[in-house]
């Protein structure tokens, strides 16, 4: 009897442990974590019953920090790791290893009522740095430009400075928002608004994407990097992905995972 109980208890403990082992903790980028990764997780769970996910999308900086601190299995990031992050990781014997998940184009969006159809890269830089503050200076209707940006935890915030602003500071009056969806919502409300969002958010109501140097962020142009603001998006792991993290990374890179990425608005790795 006692032996049977012991075996049952052991089985219970093993079962609980096994269930806990299947929880995958993912932290980081809002660009990846708001839509793509939750949908990938749902599809993965359907194929792998019993797997649980904890997903926190609070910006790429938090994803990289989570890998450095050992608080996550996968760190989502829409930017590369900064030297200071690599240095901090090395100090803790953490090997920040990137895996490209999908490509993204950062779309410049304005209110759908704006007559503007396109901007040059130079005009974009002037707008976001505050050198130009009225739409009439770039071919729009007269009106003060309202700039909406991501907050400083965001990889897109950093990427945008590098890709579009020649590493200059944002205009003093720009408003920092927590996520792509908030930017879309504000630009949709404000006829004088301008912002930038990942491609997955560029088809929202009330906004329109404008061409940059004559190019719209189509999948082909993003993949070929001929669209000015193209970028890869990443999973970061401590060393090469292993175990449960590897399984999910592999699923993301599989044909099914890439199809989900395409469906949401990202550009898949290969055509």
């Amino acid at each position: 009897m006692i032996r049977s109980l012991s075996i049952a208890s052991l089985a219970l403990v093993v079962g609980v442990t096994a269930a806990q082992a299947e929880k995958i903790v993912i932290k980081g980028s809002d660009t990846l974590g708001a839509k793509l990764v939750p949908q990938l997780a749902e599809a993965y769970k359907a194929a792998n019953p019993g797997t649980e996910f904890s997903i926190a999308a609070e910006g790429s900086t938090t994803g990289l920090a989570a890998i450095i601190d050992g608080n996550a299995d996968i760190g989502m990031s829409s930017r590369r790791a900064k030297p200071t992050e690599v240095s901090a990781a090395s100090a803790k014997a953490v090997n920040l290893t990137p895996t490209i998940v999908a490509y993204d184009g950062i779309a410049v969006v304005v209110n759908e009522k704006s007559p503007l159809k396109g901007l040059t890269k130079q005009q974009v830089e002037k707008i976001f740095t505050g050198d130009v503050n009225d739409w009439s200076a770039v071919g729009g209707n007269p009106g003060k430009i309202s700039i909406y940006t991501r907050n400083t935890s965001s990889g897109t915030y950093s990427d945008w400075k590098e890709l579009a602003m020649n590493k200059r500071d944002y205009a003093g009056g720009s408003q920092k928002l927590a996520g792509n969806e908030q930017i879309v919502a504000e630009v949709a409300k404000n006829p004088n608004g301008i912002g930038y969002v990942g491609l997955a958010y560029a088809k929202s109501a009330g906004i329109k994407v404008i061409a940059i140097d004559g190019s719209l962020p189509t999948a082909d142009k993003v993949r070929a990097k001929t669209y000015a603001y193209s970028r890869p998006t990443f999973y970061f792991t401590n060393g090469e992905p292993a175990g449960k993290a590897k399984a999910f990374v592999d699923f993301t890179l599989s044909a099914k995972g890439q199809a989900i990425a395409e469906q949401i608005g990202f550009v898949s790795l290969a055509k």
Partner: protein
């Protein structure tokens, strides 16, 4: 056909041969070119970038710094300044109402000075931050060391280093910032009220209401500060003369609402109404300048009490650009609602009694309402951000006897004395992106002439008839 790993290895070698380790971060263009040529796939390129970053971290001085992973960002900054300063301060003499004799004693002094400041600012995990500053003197309102200012025989002396800032802060939610310790002045202000060199000690709270509530078009911030001026022994004897029943620590308090908005295209208006006051605790006696936040050398022995400071404040500015250069018209205004009590601290006879002055002449000295007011108006043109930049500033201020706290006002203009009026003008030219030269001239004349030097003794009042100060600076930021 070459194996993929061989291609990667060759690419890494190629990149490495072109990019010194210290410049690994700049190898991106070469890697991008290899991707475009089809030599590398994107994922392979990322692995090479990652390896180069690790090499950079491991093989460069920056990479060898073992910084706690809780530190998200560390900013090191500082500056060295060389200064020539000439002071020409004339004593008030016996009387200035023309009824007494005149004794215009003069105090001229030229000094060659230097200042070093080093700051470290840390951004930490979980929205905390911290920092510290080091500088060359203990003085609360100046980091200057005077060359040759040591004791006799101690030529070419070395200088001490003191902690000028040490603080920690937290941003629990966007728009809310809480800081404790010795910190940068959090208020919108001018040097009429606060000397720019003072780092107040205590606790501050800032609420950026436009961020918290998400409105636009108006930046609205509420800032509060509670500063510890003097730690008193609570079991000590209370000052019966001042009516104290218990002994408490001495505190100063300031609260301010800062509102800024673009009133017309390209023109920004900022106004910051507020109050500054203190409790009535005694200040611990300090015998020399630099004894802490409180600077006793600017007070008479009668002024070691924090009484009579209930200031209403209204600084502000209008800023815009002319020919791409920033222009700012600014003002400051302070009114001491408890000015009469304050004036009485300088001498009880300020209540209207006839006073005997040093030359045995007598004069009736009465508190005047203008003793309670201080105001400043001026402008700034240009900024110094890169080589060749030139900026100018000028302002004029009138500072009544009992209007502001001489412990914290600008220690250069009128050498902190109140009951003075006059201009401050200056320019700054950028010799390089981080190197500037400039000059500032301060001039102040006594405001009320009916206060005798013997009447208001060694306090910050009308001991001086006029004070001229010239400063010529060269500084380098790093």
């Amino acid at each position: 056909m070459l194996k993929q790993s061989t291609v990667q290895l060759m690419a890494l070698g190629l990149v490495g041969s072109f990019a010194a380790t210290a410049a690994a971060q700049d190898s991106g263009a070469l890697i991008d070119a290899l991707v475009r040529k089809g030599v590398l796939k994107d994922q392979e390129a990322e692995q090479i970038r990652s390896q180069l970053s690790r090499d950079y971290a491991a093989n460069t001085p920056a990479g060898k710094l073992n910084i706690s992973s809780s530190v998200k960002e560390l900013k090191l900054s500082g500056d060295v300044r060389l200064r020539y300063q000439y002071d020409d301060a004339h004593d008030a003499g016996t009387l200035f109402n023309g009824t007494g004799s005149t004794n215009n004693g003069a105090n001229q002094r030229s000094r060659y000075r230097l200042r070093l400041r080093v700051n470290a600012d840390y951004k930490l995990a979980d929205d905390f931050f911290a920092g510290f500053g080091l500088q060359t003197t203990q003085n609360n309102d100046s980091g200057n060391q005077t060359m040759g200012g040591g004791t006799a025989g101690d030529y070419n002396q070395n200088y001490g280093i003191f902690i000028s800032k040490a603080f920690l802060g937290w941003t629990p939610i966007s728009g809310v910032t809480l800081i404790g310790g010795k910190q940068a002045n959090p208020f919108y202000t001018t040097d009429m009220l606060w000397d720019a060199d003072i780092s107040p000690t205590g606790f501050t709270q800032r609420f950026d209401l436009h961020k918290i509530f998400g409105f636009s078009g108006l930046e609205l911030s509420l800032v509060g500060g509670e500063f510890v001026l003097s730690d008193n022994t609570e079991s000590g004897a209370p000052n019966a003369t001042l009516g104290h029943k218990t002994v408490t620590d001495a505190f100063a308090y300031q609260v301010q609402l800062i509102a800024a908005s673009e009133i017309v295209e390209g023109v920004k208006l900022t106004v910051a109404p507020g109050i500054y006051t203190t409790n009535t605790a005694a200040l611990a006696a300090t015998t020399s300048d630099g004894g802490g936040e409180f600077n006793s050398s600017k007070w008479s022995t009668k002024l070691d009490q924090l009484q009579g400071l209930k200031l209403a404040l209204l600084p502000g500015d209008v800023s815009f650009k002319v020919a791409g250069k920033p222009v700012k018209f600014l003002w400051d205004l302070a009114w001491n609602a408890d000015g009469k009590a304050r004036a009485a601290l300088y001498d009880k006879d300020m209540s209207g009694k006839t006073a005997t002055v040093a030359a045995a002449s007598t004069v009736t000295v009465v508190h005047s309402e203008r003793d309670d007011w201080a105001y400043l108006a001026g402008f700034q043109f240009g900024e110094n951000k890169k080589k060749g930049d030139l900026s100018f500033m000028a302002n004029y201020r009138v500072v009544g006897l009992a209007s502001v706290d001489p412990n914290i006002n600008d220690s250069d203009w009128a050498l902190s004395y109140t009951n003075m009026q006059g201009p401050k003008v200056g320019f700054l030219y950028s010799l390089g992106d981080a190197t500037t030269v400039g000059a500032t001239y301060y001039s102040a004349q006594s405001l009320r002439k009916d206060l005798g030097a013997g009447h208001v003794s060694a306090g910050p009042g009308s001991q001086r008839d006029n004070v001229q100060v010239l400063q010529v600076d060269m500084s380098v930021k790093f």
